[in-house]
Amino acid sequence: MLEQSKKDKVTSDLLASIRLTNSFKAWMAFLSISLIVCLGAYVYQLNEGLVVTGLGDYVSWGMYISTFVFFVATSLIGMLISAVLGLSGQKWAAPLARIAEIIALAFAAVAGLVIITDMGRPDRLLNVFIHGRIQSPIVWDITVVTIYVLISTLFLYIPLIPDLKICSEKINKLHPMAQKAYKLLSLNWNGSHEQEQILKKLTRSIAIFIIPVAFAIHTVTSWLFANTLRVGWDSTIFGPYFITGAFVSGTSAIVIAMYFFRKNYKLEEYLSLDLFDKVGKLLVLVSLVYLYFNINEYLVPAYKMKKYDALHITALFTGAHALMFWSVQFFGLVLPIILLVFNKMRKPLPLLIIASFVFIGGWFKRYIIVVPTMEHPFLPIQNVPLNFKVYTPTLTESLVTLAPFILVLLIITVLSKVIPVISIHETIESLEEKNN
């Protein structure tokens, strides 16, 4: 049996983050003010119309849609870590499950809001429910994203139940209201074998159920593009191409989260160097798969150079978008793969830096998928002002694009302050298993 003192240490270590520190308050204040500034930009956009963006009748989707795709992509990490690795018995990934779920929930929930910023008439959002057509991929997308958010919430919540009980009992100087909330949410958890069995069963069934749902959300997101006739989007591999890309952004996101949780919440013991090493290897794996899909996606049309494909491919390879295209491929994919092969690069700090490149590259990658296609319609762009031909994002648009990132950080920060970012219950359980 595990000694009680050891259990207590785990509990107190992992609960340590749940308290209001000054640095937390300062960070929250910073995020809130930034968010308010960005929301101000959005209010401006609401009043003036989307004319305040750099969008036009040809490039009518820009940074907002890129960000939406990026957010949906990143949210897939919950499914990869908790479901795929969990179900396949990769025990090392267990401590990451909660962080992955927090990221998944935050990104998926905010993705829905990003879409609203892109709408010309957000006041008519309800029309989607009143007049919805199930033939439209947008309706599929709304359906599956809603389902994914709900399932992700439950995927976060159900394994959390024992920890909520611990929170209600073990946190010092807890506000009575908060304590009541923890207790209520812990659904009478008493640690009995019967309850344990239900918990295990539900966690496992969600882990299974979430896999097709997660595949669906990003495949459907890819179909927003692939189901059109447009050059650069009209591709049969867009579903898997997006899914593999999602794993790359998601894995880089979890590295960044791991690094800061580890450092700020003093979790060096639990988010071990070995864990970073493993996640680094995972990043290499998913990046290689994504690179493979990239080669397929660009080489095949580039070999044939069909009339309209040629316009698009040339713009990407040597034209107006070449710098961004090659930077994304090189700094966001190829170079990280090469560097991460070395042991030293999979230590926390180097891995953080590399993952940041991958993460930022991931956003620009979505931009490269969304924008250049819209600049290359089948018929020439004529008789319109120059800003309709070339998309240049505006400051307002950039601020509005920044808002969801801030909101995600807010959600992640708040969640990490109210629940332990690593499961106490499961950590103790695995220690017990090791002991036996």
Partner: protein, 301 residues
């Protein structure tokens, strides 16, 4: 116009091309003699010219500019003439009328755009720029067109539509000989001409080949329009309904189920797939909630 120091070569070239274009336009308006001598039954005066000016500005000015102002659309080849110019004014009323009717090259026909009255009024406006012009009035009396009666008959065996044109004068029925008859089928936006334009024979009859493949309404009805133009009786139209067209009842374009159709016309496979997916989710949600409920009950004890 000409600059004095311009090189002779260019001058000669210019003159040559100018001559050539005049030649071209003169040669191409090959107006038949009977059309050339046609005269207007509308008196050219200030009132008719004023009405003509409105029509002119709407239909002609974009290319020919304002008469005598020389502001013609020069980018066109050949350049349209200024209609107050001598070249135009020396043409007879009949020639001008013919040109308006037929059009040529870049110039469209105005036969279907302007009525005969309107076409003459445009000419009245053009003539108002010519002080020397003296009008010769036609002896056509347009009010007499009311007396004209048209009878149309279709013979299935020969596939011929016969149009008989007579005038009911007080003195008795007069057969209209040598009157121009054009047969049309009524369409939603205009009149579709069937066969060529004909002239009535001594019995006042004109024969038209009917197009058997002409689509009609659901029942195969089609309205045929005979347009008569007679020297003495003027212009008129007469419509008769026949049940001789191909019955046409094409289904509405939104009838079939399709991805692009409205929700209730969505493809069955899509309705099933979508509903199945949502139901599976709801079922799973119910399963989770029920389990959590029993979880909660267990702990309560």
């Amino acid at each position: 116009m000409f600059r004095i120091n311009i090189s002779t070569k260019i001058v000669s070239l210019f003159i040559f091309s100018a001559l050539f274009s005049i030649n071209l336009s003169a040669a191409s308006w090959d107006v038949p003699a009977d059309k050339k001598s046609k005269n207007s039954f509308i008196k050219f005066n200030d009132a008719s010219a004023k009405e003509g000016e409105v029509l002119y500005n709407k239909n002609c000015a974009s290319c020919h500019g304002n008469p005598s102002k020389g502001n013609v659309l020069k980018s066109l080849k050949p350049t349209p003439p200024d209609l107050a110019s001598d070249g135009t004014q020396k043409l007879t009323d009949g020639e001008l009328f013919y040109i308006l009717n037929t059009g040529r090259g870049l110039m469209p026909s105005f036969k279907n755009v302007l009525s005969e009255n309107e076409r003459w009024k445009v000419i009245a406006y053009m003539r108002s720029f010519n002080k020397k012009y003296v009008q010769v009035l036609s002896n056509t009396d347009p009010s007499k067109s009311e007396l004209v009666k048209v009878n149309m008959q279709y013979d299935a065996k020969s596939n011929i539509v016969t149009v008989k044109v007579v005038a009911k004068e007080k003195t008795g029925t007069v057969v209209l000989k040598d009157a121009e008859v054009i047969l049309f089928a009524k369409r939603y936006f205009g009149k579709l001409q069937l066969d060529k334009s004909m002239r009535t024979n001594n019995e006042g009859l004109a024969y038209f080949q009917y197009s058997k493949d002409l689509p009609g309404d659901k029942a195969g009805n089609v309205e045929l329009i005979a347009k008569i133009n007679d020297e003495a009786y003027g212009e008129l139209e007469s419509t008769t309904k026949f049940k001789i067209a191909v019955p046409t009842d094409k289904p509405s374009l939104t009838e079939k189920r399709a991805i692009w159709n409205v929700l209730v016309k969505a493809p069955i496979w899509l309705i099933i797939t979508y509903s199945f997916g949502v139901l599976v989710f709801l079922g799973f949600l119910l399963y989770l909630v029920l389990n959590l409920l029993s979880f909660w009950k267990i702990g309560k004890i």
